[in-house]
């Protein structure tokens, strides 16, 4: 008994000490520095930009390295970054970039050599292609002369100014023998951007310090930390108790959990993601042979349009997304990209109208049977569709419920099919074993990437290799417009072509956009004085294809914030620890007396 008391006392002391440790922490050397801590629900896959593909990693690399061009923080149009200016040859095949006179963080000058080495490395070394291979696919050659970088293309490419490849310091990275196996963990990193990575504890955090010699001027904070959470709910707790200051990419329930905290700003703005239904309109492989088991009725454009009329998008936004999205009256480019967004109007616009949907189906000969379910005009196959969604996604479950209700109104039965994500990708992108599937895409400032997912060449090959199609679409009009926009270097004219492509997708309905989810984030206003989104005012903080939000961060003066937060926590922990020990001690003392009495009886 006495032994146990002693052990309890030790435990209590340990608790006390742990609490005091926390108090000591508040007074550590970090105090006095302006630090902003960003939470991320993903861990860094690699600090080597040639390999990294996760959003958290590419975001960090955007804060560390310069690019040829970056989207302007107001208009999202390509604007100068490491390339000060550029010219294009008449035929659009030769691009000459003037590289800015500036220095790497180790003092070496930045030259066109660095850019040329980076691109050539990706073009010639298969291992270096992992992250950004497609971005140099169209490059014929890249050469450097002083500060001039000359890129020769195989074919004209209007999205040249949207190149996603960070320019790496040649003098550091050419020493790496096997890029495919290099983790990039060398600190401090040699960078040309606003922040220098100084420490990476795998699956825990990345620490970045302000680059005092950044050519736009040093950031206004001293240190930026990215802290990883495996569990989104824990990251909300982290924001509430002040372990992190900002967290992005929240889903509606997480976002709503932040409500009511006076220190937290709920950031709810238009987002970059389009959510759509993918309709199996007759999936084929690249040699035009049918593949999969899609329902024949969906090959009929009229049926697809009827489905579109039957969907109440306002209701979906209100009930499935808790109002935190915009109903889609366009296609796969969300409205935040004002230059490229196409919105349906007039006769083309599809609004919720089940009567009209029924009328379309009646006229097309899909008669309702005794059970209220329609059948094919030329047979007795019923209009019973499967809806493929992912397992463990409550929001998709809810969406399925609503769609089932909507389609029942027009005599169509919908059953839900849940698949784990790799099986889902396979069935809806390669083997064509689906009728209707949920899908979505986070669109970049230049929509070329998302448009390309609906090209004929993206369908799977006859041997069953997936090409990354989002719809199995293969449409002459769409292909022609895509080729034209590639060559069109005049931005307004190109935007016009891109809008026509969206209109084509909207009316032919191989995909039906349902809503654009909002960008939901949260940050502590007792730590972050100001932060600018991209685009400014109503854009994205974390996950934008820009260094801007985290470069523009301003922190609240640290002294006040630190003194309150940290040491109080320690004190409370200590007090609680002490109370627990005394309480338990008292409890066991009384127990002990009692058992001693028992012994004596």
């Amino acid at each position: 008994m006495r032994k146990w008391l002693a052990r309890l006392a030790v435990l209590g002391v340990a608790l006390l000490v742990a609490g005091q440790g926390q108090a000591a922490l508040a007074q550590d050397p970090a105090a006095g520095k302006k630090i902003v801590r960003v939470g991320a629900t993903q861990a860094v896959d690699s600090m080597n930009p040639f390999l990294a593909v996760r959003l958290v990693s590419t975001s960090i690399h955007r804060w560390m390295y310069g690019f040829l061009t970056v989207p302007d923080s107001k208009t999202l149009k390509p604007s100068p970054d490491l390339a000060e200016s550029w010219t294009t040859s008449e035929d659009g095949l030769t691009w000459t970039f003037k590289i800015r006179q500036t220095k790497w963080s180790d003092g070496q000058p930045v030259t066109a050599e660095d850019a040329a080495w980076t691109f050539n490395k990706i073009m010639t070394d298969d291992a270096a292609k992992t992250a950004n291979g497609p971005a140099v696919e169209n490059f014929e050659s890249v050469t450097a002369n002083g500060q001039d970088l000359v890129i020769k293309l195989k074919a004209p490419q209007a999205s040249m100014l949207e190149n996603p490849i960070p320019i790496m310091p040649k003098h550091v990275w050419e020493k790496v023998t096997d890029l495919g196996q290099f983790s990039g963990d060398q600190y401090p990193a040699v960078v040309s951007g606003p922040y220098i990575a100084v420490e990476h504890k795998k699956d825990q955090y990345v620490k970045l310090k302000a680059n005092p010699n950044y050519w736009r001027g040093a950031p206004k904070i001293d240190e930026l930390q990215v802290i990883f959470y495996d569990n989104p709910a824990a990251s909300i707790v982290g924001l509430k108790n002040g372990e992190i200051d900002l967290i992005g990419r929240l889903n509606p329930p997480e976002f709503e959990a932040l409500k009511g905290d006076p220190n937290i700003v709920q950031w709810n703005q238009q987002g970059r993601r389009a959510n759509y239904l993918q309709i199996n309109h007759g999936a084929t492989t690249t040699d035009d042979k049918p593949v999969g088991d899609g329902h024949p009725a969906l090959k009929d454009q009229k049926v697809r349009q009827a489905l579109h009329y039957a969907i109440d998008k306002d209701k979906l936004v209100a009930e499935v997304q808790n109002g935190l999205a915009k109903p889609a009256h366009g296609s796969i480019v969300p409205p935040m990209y004002t230059d490229f967004f196409w919105e349906a109007s007039g006769d083309t616009k599809v609004t919720y109208d089940p009567a009209k949907a029924n009328q379309i189906l009646d006229e097309a000969g899909y008669k309702k049977g005794a059970d209220g379910v329609r059948t094919m005009p030329d047979g007795d196959r019923k209009l019973e569709f499967r809806f493929s969604i992912h397992t463990d996604t409550p929001i998709e479950d809810k969406l399925a419920e609503y769609l089932t209700g909507f389609f029942k109104e027009i005599g169509i039965t919908l059953t839900t099919k849940k698949l784990d994500s790799s099986k889902f990708t396979e069935e809806t992108g390669v083997t064509g074993l689906f009728d209707i599937a949920i899908s979505g895409w986070s669109v970049n400032p230049d929509p070329e990437e998302v448009l390309a997912t609906h090209l004929c060449s993206r369908r799977p090959t006859p041997s069953g290799e997936g090409g990354g199609t989002e719809s199995f679409y293969c449409d002459e009009t769409f292909e022609k417009l895509y080729q034209e926009q590639l060559k069109e270097l005049d931005r307004p004219k190109r935007a016009e072509l891109i809008k026509q492509m969206q209109e084509r997708l909207y009316t032919d309905a191989p995909v039906i956009a349902i809503y654009y989810t909002n960008d939901l984030e949260g940050y502590r206003k007792d730590r972050i004085k100001s932060v600018t989104s991209v685009p400014e005012q109503d854009g994205i903080l974390y996950g934008a294809s820009s260094f801007w939000p985290f470069y523009s961060l301003e922190a609240v003066e640290p002294a006040a914030a630190e003194a309150e937060g940290g040491s109080n926590t320690g004190l409370i922990a200590g007090v609680v620890g002490a109370v627990v020990v005394i309480g338990l001690g008292a409890f066991f003392l009384t127990r002990r007396r009692k058992s001693a009495a028992d012994d004596r009886e």
Binding site: V17, D28, E243, S421, W441, A452, G466, G468, A573
Partner: protein, 348 residues
């Protein structure tokens, strides 16, 4: 646990003559241990072979999974496939896998592009710390409460501790962890929400304190959900002893109640619990996938969870093999130790 066939051998040698009782017995233990080790090796071999095919049966193509949400041309996908060696016939993949595994080369992780063994090396310390402390606390708490509850069977303490532990045992780990996180993390704000250390952790003793502070909630979750099994096993085996004649004898000698319990009843009742503990030690390496995930604890469980999400075949294979091999080795040790501790098993 003990295969009856193998246990026959020492018994047979005993039958040779009671005079030689001692030496053959020790000899017997050695032989017994060796045969157990042989069995373990066989199991490990089966695990290695099974692992390869098991993970090939999983639905989904890892290359497609890697390409998810990204723009990749068919040529690029082909290249990825070649890089990962997935274009070779299954039998070649299997032979390569066997050869590599025997050389302790667990391959490169698809997702992290680093050797699996390195990744495991990075994580194993955190897991051993968390799961080791968790096991130690759960075992001592369980044995202690089980001992008292069993000794005063039906008392208020018995009903209270058995009830509490059973309620916690039935609670899902995930739920308990989240609840603790909400109460102590979000509302009371006395414990951190994630990880093994603060980003700006001090050095030296301060670092130890920092880690201890981060460990409190994960350990409570880990212990809360499992300690009931030690409590119940201890309680019921003590109950078995209480009615025995030797206990009555001990009491009749006028020994204090505490002494009867400590010197006579408990040592005899401890055996099943010891076996249970050894069985559990093997799982320490596997960590606690759920707890590590809730608290973002950078251990093996979290690594395995990540690997399954991708799916990252080589990483899954590697962690899975490590965990199974650890369990097999620990079970074998448990068998052998049980053999040494309990003479009844030897002569069985």
């Amino acid at each position: 646990m003990t295969a009856p066939l193998e246990a026959v051998e020492p018994a047979a040698s005993q039958a040779a003559g009671p005079a030689e009782d001692h030496r053959p017995a020790r000899h017997g233990i050695l032989r017994y241990a060796l045969s157990k080790a042989g069995g373990a090796l066989f199991s490990i071999a089966m695990v290695i072979i099974g692992t390869f095919f098991l993970f090939r049966l999983l639905p989904g193509d890892p290359v497609r999974a890697l390409a998810q949400g990204r723009n990749m041309t068919p040529e690029q996908l082909d290249m990825e496939r070649r890089r990962l060696g997935l274009d070779e016939p299954l039998i070649n993949q299997f032979l390569n896998f066997l050869g590599d595994t025997l050389r302790f080369d667990l391959g490169m992780s698809y997702e992290y592009k680093r050797p699996v063994l390195d990744l495991i090396g990075d994580r194993i310390g955190a897991t051993l710390l968390l799961a080791g402390v968790g096991l130690a606390v759960a075992v001592s708490l369980g044995i202690w409460q089980g001992m008292r509850a069993g000794w005063r069977h039906g008392s208020r303490f018995d009903r209270f501790s058995t009830g509490t532990s059973l309620v916690l045992w039935s609670v899902p780990t995930f739920w308990l962890g989240l609840l603790l996180l909400l109460v102590f993390g979000a509302y009371l704000k006395i414990f951190p929400s994630r990880g093994i250390q603060s980003v700006d952790a001090p050095d030296g003793f301060g670092y130890v304190l920092d880690v201890a502070h981060h460990m409190v909630l994960p350990v409570i979750t880990l212990v809360g959900v499992v300690y009931a099994q030690y409590l119940l096993v201890m309680r019921s085996s003590l109950l078995d002893e209480v009615g025995q004649d030797y206990i009555t004898t001990a009491r009749a000698k006028g020994l204090r109640d505490d002494d009867v319990r400590r010197r006579h009843a408990v040592p005899n009742a401890l055996l099943p619990t010891v076996t249970l503990v050894f069985m559990r030690v093997g799982f320490v390496v596997g960590g606690a996938v759920t707890v590590e995930t809730i608290f973002s604890w950078p251990g093996l469980g979290q690594l395995f969870y990540e690997a399954v999400r991708v799916p990252d075949f080589t990483l899954m294979q590697g962690t899975f093999m490590l965990i199974t091999v650890a369990v097999i080795i620990m079970n074998t040790l448990a068998d052998v130790i049980y053999h040494i501790l309990d003479p009844r098993v030897r002569s069985a």
